[in-house]
Every structure is written in C-alpha cells, then in structure tokens.
C-alpha cells in the first residue's frame, strides 16, 4: 500500500521517492519518511527509521500497535490505524472452536490503509490545487 501511496504523492507533483527504488536520494532534515508497521515493528522498518532519524529526517509511523511496537520510538508522529494485524489475529482463542477469520493476518490493516491513503490523497489534491487532469498527466505511460 505504501508503494501505491508513493506513486500518488508523485502524481501530486511532490518530490516523493520509494525506499529501495533506484533513484531515491539521501534523506535530509527537510524530508519526511512515511513508514508502516501494522504489528508495531519489523526489523527492516526499525532499521530504515533509525537511519532516517540519524540524518535529521522526520518519521511518520502508521501502526495498529502504538503502545507496544518497537518502531514507535523512532517516530515523530504516530498515525494509529485501529485494525487487526498479525500481532493480534490469534488472540481471540480461549477454548472455543477457532473459526476461519474472513480477513486473516494483516488484511484488515491493509484495507484500512487503502481507504486512509485514498482519503489523504484526495484531501492533498484539494489543498495543493492540483487538478485531476494534472495529476493524471503525471502517471507513467511506460507500463
């Protein structure tokens, strides 16, 4: 979902880059790193956020586990996405027969991110005054 968000931010005319893409520049104190760790932390997300902080970048963390996650300590701002992730999809046990969850593991969190990012991009399009035509014209034709 972060890849889609990154593409949409670039469509808006912003200087957006995806970590691990070929032409991503170094992060500076003027930049914001947007990270996601539904269950609260992943070793690689922690690593990238730590590097971003050490170079003066700000970090926005999306997570469903703002209390217990390992990545929170690197975040300047935390966006709490109140959705089931792999961290709590097994917690409703307790003796009774376990039924198949309709949206297992991190699916609810992924779906919540999809809706959230659409809302954010819609609002940013308004605020930046970018017309739908201008946004569309930035979409690559090499596909």
């Amino acid at each position: 979902m972060l890849k889609a968000l990154c593409m949409r931010l670039a469509h808006l005319g912003l200087s957006a880059h995806f970590v691990f893409d070929m032409t991503t520049p170094p992060i500076t104190p003027k930049d914001l790193l947007i990270a996601s760790a539904g269950p609260g932390g992943f070793s690689t997300v922690d690593a990238i956020c730590s590097v971003a902080k050490s170079h003066g970048g700000r970090v926005l963390l999306l997570t469903a586990q703002p209390e217990t996650g390992s990545t929170v300590k690197y975040a300047d701002a935390v966006a709490y996405v109140a959705a089931q992730t792999m961290a709590d999809d097994e917690e409703d046990g307790g003796g009774r027969e376990k039924s198949r969850t309709l949206l297992p593991m991190g699916s609810v969190y992924e779906g919540a991110m999809f809706v959230l990012f659409e809302m954010v991009v819609y609002k940013m399009g308004e605020v930046l005054g970018e017309s739908p035509e201008a946004i569309r014209a930035r979409h690559t034709n090499l596909e």
Copy 2:
C-alpha cells in the same frame, strides 16, 4: 494487488510465483497466469500473456474492459471487474463543471481487486483445507 494475491497463494501452499521475481520458473502447459489490466490492456501485460500462451500456459485476465481491451485476445478466461479505471474516469464530462472524483483513475478498480482477492483466498483456504495456522506459518519472517 497482484503481488499481495501471489503472496497469499504461496501462503496457501500452492506453487505460486510473481513474474519478474528472481526465482520464477518458466511457464508450462500446467500453469495458470493471472494477469490484470483494468483499462483492458497494457503493452507489458500483453507481452507477458502472449509469451505465456505461446508456451502452452493458460491465462486468466482480470479487467474492467472485457469488450475493448487489447489483452482479452490472450485470455482463456476473463474475470470482469465492473469498476472505473483510467479508461473511463474522464468519460462523464460533457460541458458541466468537472468535480474531483473521490476515487480517481484506477482506485475503484484497485479496491475492487482487494476485496475480490480476499474473498477468493478465503474460499480457497476452505477448499484446500488449509488451517489459518498453517497459512500463517508460511509467512516469511525476513521482513
């Protein structure tokens, strides 16, 4: 969304591979290629589907434009996802003031695929008799 579907199919214990990943084997007559072209066709999707057909593979195409798309001719089966894509997000013009679409370009199609794939994976989990625990145990820890 296809990347997520591929991961979920591998979680189900199926021999699933993502085109362009490093260890994807050659396609054979026993394999099914699942392709998506919301607007009906992309040059690269056409190219991959054409190669798959020429090696005897079957092709399932997801599209919102089953009538007019260029990829349909390679498909053994077409899944019609009735959602707006880049092919028709500008069609409602006609003189009146154009308002900002809440879900622009291919967003509705992407959301529809998200829901569809969750439903398909849920059903396949039942049919294959794979328990949620077995599925979860196949998720990588290298993240």
Copy 3:
C-alpha cells in the same frame, strides 16, 4: 545491470528513472529510453520500447544480436555489445562432447555491460564536471 546504470546516472545529477519504479514519470519526446536485450529481443522490452516510440521518446538499445533481434526495429540507436548471450550459448554443438562453459547463458553479456557502464559513467562524470564528492553525496543513506 540497467538498475545499477540508472542509479549511477541519478548520482550524476541527471533526471534518471527506472521503468517500473514507483515514481517514474511518463516518457516524452525529450527523453531517452535505454533498453537492453542481449539475445536481441524480449517481449516485455519490445513492449516498453514500442510505447516509448509512440510517445515520441528516443530509444537506445544495447544488444548482442543487432541483425536478428526483434527489438532493433524500435531503436533510434543500437549499441552492439559483442558478447555471448542465451541466443548463441548453445551454438558450438556438432557431435563432439559438450563441455561446461565457464560463463554460461548471458553471463559474458552481463559482464560486458558492467564494464561498459562503468566506462560510460566515468566519461559522463568528466563531461558533466561532477566531482566524485558531489556524485557520492547523491547516494541514498536509506539502505
């Protein structure tokens, strides 16, 4: 190897983008697409080159098969890399015992591209007057 070249071109301060990266803009008549098809053609390379041409972009093709390849017809310029690829690594057959090639399939071609790209980037650094320090400062710290 093209990924590495793309990164080096961005290090030089050029507006370089890798096809399929998230923030790659549409190609325009001012842009050059650098493509590689050692054996002379791949369906996806043909597809991307075709799209680039149809939008007015110029195409530089690297290949070891400039005579017979399917991609050549899209190229404004062809760079002939005289190296073995998958197109001719089996040609030396003829009855005698087949020995294991030290550099099989496309390995010689890949190695030749590595050396070629280093030379090109070195020359471009001189021409553009970009100091090694400036080049290095553009390398991402998010790794």
Copy 4:
C-alpha cells in the same frame, strides 16, 4: 549482484529465494542466508541477519570490511572480498590533488562479486552434476 546469484542458484535446482520477493518462505535452522555488506554493514542488512539468526538460520556474510563492520557479529561465516567499497574510496587523500577514480564508490566490490559468483555457480554446477541444458531449462520464459 545478489539478485543474479539467487537466480543462478534457482537455475541449479536449489530452493533459493530472494528476501523481499513475494513468495519467500520463513527462514528455518536448515537455511543459509547469504548477505552482502561491502562497507561492513547496512542497517537493513543487519536487521535481516539478526532476524535470520534469531530463527536459527545460518548467515554467510560477504564483505570488504571484516574487521570493522557492524554485520560481522551476525555471521557464521565471513567471505572476505578484498575490494574497495564506499568505506574506503576516499581514504587516499592527504593534501595532493584528488583524481577521479576509474571505479568509484562500490564499483570494484560489485565487479569482484560478479566474478566470484560466476566462479561459485560454475563449481556448484559441477558438484551438483547439473548439465548446462538442465540449468538453462529452469530459466524463466516470462521476460
């Protein structure tokens, strides 16, 4: 270069997977993680190696800085690639005019890895008794 190595190992019929590919399974005590950190360490490489160790996997680290690097502590085995990397490409300063290095930053290390991996894959093909034809037949046709 690790991506190319992973592809070649899969060509040899081994169960090889690239970290971050869609279908990569969890690492187990039976698995070997091959990591590379020319300058001795990257935050993300440290993170992945740490996870691999905590799940019982073994770690082989390729590096040009076996003495000082941060990743070495996770390695069961270290392959010392004696080549210049970003860690020491600026060290030969000392008052005199700095000339442009022919192979700057990590280029020598990348080239050394290319040669090393070709040699390793050649030897493994012999040891495993995999014929060039069998190896080639595992190369994907979806490209």
